[in-house]
């Protein structure tokens, strides 16, 4: 039943002498992490279903440098950034869409002064635009009418002031959104940012992802939606730790769309 994904690289396009409409920046999690790969695929399915002419960098993509920068390794960050910018500029890339708010923030805000000036969109923003242009149609499906809560990724929300795009999509899916106590600009971090994803937490009385998951569970919804592969991992782990994985699903918004549209 799994349809073949149609994915071309920048190099493929260049060989054909063509330019894609948009570059999909997959990111490290989206490329390698088993859970996040599903999100990548879901997004591609949507793009394929409405014939968006997109490309990926494939093996020419490399880490944006975000975790290095936020660990304090400015050298490594700038090396990564400049290498990536060189590749992107060599293909004359203008618009980038990404499923990872960390990649989004870094390319959008920190690449310009190093010579990388692109229009950068988070996948929820990109899909919203398609929706407005009438190219994408979304309606309620399997989850229609169900209660859902949405976790704002720090690097999409607070960092870049995007609270609406994901919520618009949820509305289109005809889901009932129950907000957590701390949402939007008050949203609580999942615990992964600032390179915390890659290390154990300092001593304390609780893990941050547990604190956040408990809050999400308080909404008594059957789905916790997120828009970031790292948040997804952290909250999925939280749900597991709370032994709720039977009742509560942690899904990216694109996965909800894919199920609803039966793609």
């Amino acid at each position: 039943m799994e349809k073949n994904l149609h994915v071309k690289t920048m190099a493929d396009f260049a060989a054909e002498g063509k330019e894609p409409e948009v570059l999909f920046w997959v990111g490290c999690a989206g490329s390698f992490d088993d859970r996040a790969k599903k999100i990548t695929k879901a997004f591609v399915k949507i793009l394929n279903s409405i014939n968006v002419d997109f490309a990926v960098l494939g093996t020419e993509e490399s880490c944006t440098g975000d975790p290095a920068k936020r660990s304090g390794n400015e050298f490594l960050f700038q090396m990564q950034a400049m290498t990536n910018i060189e590749v992107l500029n060599s293909y004359d890339v203008k618009t980038i869409v990404t499923t990872c708010p960390h990649c989004f923030n870094t390319i959008k805000n920190e690449y310009p002064s190093l010579g990388g000036k692109f229009k950068v969109l988070h996948h929820t923003q990109f899909l919203n635009n398609l929706l407005k242009e009438g190219r994408l149609k979304i309606e309620g499906g399997e989850y229609k009418g169900k209660k859902i809560t949405y976790h704002d990724p720090c690097y999409l929300g607070r960092a870049n002031n995007e609270y609406n795009a994901p919520r618009e999509l949820i509305k289109k899916l005809e889901l009932e959104l129950i907000e957590m106590k701390r949402c939007k600009s008050n949203g609580l971090c999942c615990g992964a940012g600032g390179a915390q994803m890659f290390k154990d937490a300092e001593k304390g009385d609780k893990e941050i992802n547990i604190e956040r998951t408990e809050e999400a569970l308080e909404t008594k919804t059957s789905v916790i939606a997120a828009g970031c592969p790292f948040c997804n991992t952290m909250i999925s782990d939280g749900v597991k730790a709370k032994e709720k994985e039977k009742d509560v699903k942690v899904l990216d918004i694109v996965e909800l769309i894919v199920t609803a549209q039966d793609l």
Binding site: T9, V26, C28, G30, S31, F32, D33, K41, V56, L57, G58, T59, E61, S62, C63, G65, P67, A68, R70, S71, G72, N73, E74, F75, L76, Q78, M79, Q80, M82, N105, K108, N109, E110, L114, C154, R158, A159, N160, R182, N186, G187, L188, C189, G191, A192, G193, G194, A195, Q196, M197, F198, K199, A201, E202, K203, G204, K206, E207, I208, E211
Partner: protein
Amino acid sequence: MFEYLPNIIFVVVLFLGLYFFSRNLHRLYRNINLGKQIDVSDNKKQRFINMSKIALGQGKLIKRPISGFLHVVVYVGFIIINIELLEIILDGILGSHRLFSSYMGSFYGYLIGTFEFLAVSVLLAVSVFWIRRNVIKLKRFFGDNMKGWPKNDANIILYFEVVLMVLFITMNATDLKFQEMNSGNLISGYIYGFFSDYSIESLHLIERASWWAHIIGILIFMNYLYFSKHLHILLAFPNTYFAKLNNIGEIDNLNSVTKEVKLMMDPETAFSNDVSESDEIDKFGSSDVMDLNRLQLLNSYSCTECGRCTSVCPANITGKKLSPRKIMMDTRDRIEEVGKNIDLNNGNFIDDGKTLLNDYITKEELWACTSCNACVQECPISIDPLSIILDMRRYLVMEESSAPLELNNMMSNIENNGAPWPYNQMDRLNWKE
């Protein structure tokens, strides 16, 4: 000659008050300038708007409605009542009594009436503040380093306000001439009743005493500011003006690093031009206050110690040592220590073997931050504790190579295979399968 004695004393007192105040301001300016220069000359219009909204308009305080409302009361009261200060000063110098009353006619009554109303509102608001701090013991006013001076400071200022307001009302209530005008004695008119069996002489004495105590109190208050979190009533303005304008998610790219990375990536240019121009290699990141920039130091002096940042910090909420408020308070304590060191050593800083890193802020605190920006978002006067945390991490990583082992692994993965995990870059498209 004798009749001018009060005028002379007044001028001397006023002069002393202003002299010490300007000395404090000068010290403040000098200390902030110990930090690195930072270019904040862009976009003046937006900066002005931010300052008007956030500092003048108290735009971010409304987020917590109760404390926000009370704060507006105290703030508006404070500013408006200070108009009265002008009259007090002129009276003091000229030896006049309620100089403005003869020029303003009935408007004078309205003005003083407003002041009295505000004074009572301030008293009420301050009482609630005191109760929140000392009876209800709101969580954000405690924890980390809110002991000793910071704790007393918060209460002292409340008492100060109470005393000043009470003196203001008493001064009006015992002022026979003012009470006879019977306009503007909105509150003091009632208090006047308490003094009905006092003789004219003792009334006059109380009035004079309150008047003097009030103005001297204000001068002391002014000089107290430098040592208090209440410096924010002045610094909130420059602080919000100079605050970062870009998306808060953006972290600045270090120029010194850009230069080096460019040389590394393109060795040809390394030899072709401006190598000679390479100014003294900066230290990367910050281990002490002099490595921070001036905005960060201004931030530390502006901090109101309100704890909003800490109360939303995910690390702090889950019991980690990190507290963004403590980062700001430590920075201020250290820059003060450095400033004193300079004062004692004729203008030179003599190494005291201490640094902001380790002696004030520990690595454990620094590594607990998720860079979530909640603290930055929450701060009512646009302070950025995260930028200090990151600059110190930069020092730890680039100068000391002392990141936690797991982060070192993550970074060497990025260096070797372009991902934080040990996967091969050539496998980047394998998700497709």
